[in-house]
Amino acid sequence: MTEPVTEYAPSRETTEGRVFTVTGGDWYETFGGEDPIHDERIVVNLGPQHPSTHGVLRLVLELEGETVTDVRPVVGYLHTGIEKNLEFRNWVQGSTFVTRMDYLSPIFNETGYALAVEKLLGITDQVPARANTIRVLMMELNRIASHLVWLATTGMELGAISMMLYGFREREYILDIFELTSGLRMNHAYVRPGGLAQDMPAEAIEKARWFLKYLPKKLKEYEDMLTEQVIWLERTKGVAVLDVTGCLALGVTGPVLRSAGLPWDLRKTMPYCGYETYEFDVPSRTAGDVYARYEVRLAEIRESLKLVEQALDRLEPGPVMVADQKIAWPAQLAIGVDGMGNSLEHVAKIMGQSMESLIHHFKLVTEGFRVPPGQVYVGIESPRGELGVHAVSDGGTRPYRVHYRDPSFVNLQALPAMAEGALLADVIAGGASLDPVMGGVDR
């Protein structure tokens, strides 16, 4: 037996037998061991349809080797003109539109809108205590759900596929509570100017109580799975760092700002809905990297659980809509066989008993209430940062202009600052750590 050709595949004898080391033919002779694209720029188009860009986000990347030299996020693929549409619907109908902006935090969109309209109307103080408590309760549940989705999708993007299943599984319980309360899992239109669409049923409160006991055990599991895990640490520690100065210059708020060391949380600094009466902490870290953001968000879930518990404890029977009959929706809504609608008693009353009630209902529902002219800006702390609502009224029954300062939109600007100069894989980690929701970015 002749000796095999070893020019391209040198061999050596081992206890297992002969082992060949196969090399790439005449590659080295041809290219002299040089990387032919060593100093060549490659432009890579990532997205908009890509499982790792956290939504319909397109990134135009310039690469040198595996190093990213330039990132240009391209947005607008989910632009639906919600702000323009609001100008052609009355003030109450607005809730139905804004809830669809940032679809992972619908309650925040609605609450921001409701607070703005209430401020325009000058009825902020008249919103009943129960309505405010339920708003806090729903917002904090929503915050947990949103952070769980962040954990799930980020886990998936960084290789922890099981985290995605767990995150979405737990979120489903919160959506159940939302469904019991508002009739819908998402896009609730539950928080309305003046209060709430309807009261929270006892069943939902019971379910929320159960969830308070359930989630901490699961959080422990996530931490067991991720916190010390080598791959997770490698992908997140020291990756996509942005310090406080960078955050403020780029307008980044929310968990990303808090992970850099500034505990700025509008619930504490400029409270609304009675947050100043609740006991909770604002978690912060100083590393400013993806891992710190992970820690902050997990800690925020725990704080939100504390808030939910306090809100549940202080729920007392009472109205959930302002007493002013010229603003309040004339009927309590009820969930019927074909979805949410006016309660049957109310329909019986206006159709069979009281003509005045019918007229009143008709005028308020078709024409809507008037809002005195002026403009306001209301900022609330959404899971992603400051959600600002700038609402302008010209005195009519429809908004003259509503602008949403969506934290996803503003925060996404920070991606180039985080990712340029790093490796391609860190773009994904950095983008995921900003938690952009494209529905909110594009509106």
Binding site: A249, L250, L262, H390, R401, V410, Q413
Partner: protein, 265 residues
């Protein structure tokens, strides 16, 4: 108080029989809403097209203007009156206004109006000075508005010669204050200095304002459309840009698109 102003675009299709609106009616007295206006966008043959001859025909429930509650009159546009507040403004507003005037070194003329409404301070700023004012607002020890929360536009079509307003919401984290800066430019010359040099976060927000309102921010590093496609024509959030949409059929009836539906004034 500024007097209410009628909408700009008269309806050319209005038949001669329509009684002209009487501008001398005691409407401005009540101060708030009444505006005598011809129905804008009305269609010939549509019911309730003509303004009622007497106030008694206006009906109940706060009907103003033409008295057209059928909605065929189209949208009435009114501009919230700019009412200058008199010092002392209350709250932290005096400190902010005085601090800004002082820091501008006699350039206090940059502040055109000071409006305090619903517990919020609005400073109307001369358009050319907006970037300077932002610089001072950010850097002055007594002001320290470190964060530019929001930049957006409002179109006051027909009620202001400088119809395109750009609104800046500034936040001071040091003092926990908010203030709103407002500037106005005309649609013919919609240029403003960019504030991206002071607040880099305004980058995308100015692009959005350009995209939606056509305000050109000079000095912006890359002023391109951001939400709409690059080759889009027109500025969608302007009030003279239609909402668009197609009529849909529902249970045998045709439902017009939202901006052509009957609606209430």
């Amino acid at each position: 108080m500024t007097a209410p102003i009628s909408p700009s675009s008269p309806n050319g299709a209005l038949p001669d029989a329509a009684p002209p609106p009487a501008p001398s009616e005691p409407e401005a007295q009540s101060g708030s809403l009444p505006v005598s206006a011809q129905p804008v966008g009305a269609q010939t043959g549509a019911p309730a097209e003509f303004p009622p001859a007497s106030p008694s025909q206006r009906g109940l429930f706060g009907v103003h203007g033409t008295g057209d509650t059928s909605g065929f009159g189209g949208l009435l546009r009114r501009r919230p009156a700019i009412v200058d507040a008199q010092p002392p403004y209350g709250s932290y507003f005096d400190e902010v206004v005085d601090g800004l005037r002082e820091a501008l070194h006699g350039g206090g003329t940059a502040i055109e109006h000071v409006v305090v409404d619903r517990g919020e301070l609005t400073l109307h700023i001369e358009p050319e000075r907006i970037a300077d004012v932002c610089q001072v607002m950010r850097d002055d020890e007594a002001l320290r508005f470190e964060l530019c929360s929001s930049v957006s536009g409002v179109d006051y079509l027909g009620t202001d010669a400088h119809r395109l307003h750009v609104v800046y919401q500034l936040t001071s984290m040091t003092y926990r204050r908010r203030v709103r800066l407002e500037t106005a430019v005309s649609a013919e010359d919609p240029t403003l200095p960019s504030i991206t040099g002071v607040y880099p976060t305004a980058d995308w927000q100015e692009r959005e304002t350009y995209d939606m309102f056509g305000v050109v921010f000079t000095g912006h590093p890359g002023l391109t459309r951001i939400l709409m496609p690059d080759d889009w024509e027109g500025y969608p959030q302007r009030k003279d840009y239609p909402l668009g949409g197609v009529p849909v059929e529902y249970k045998g009836a045709e439902i017009p698109p939202p901006d052509q539906r009957r609606s209430y004034q």
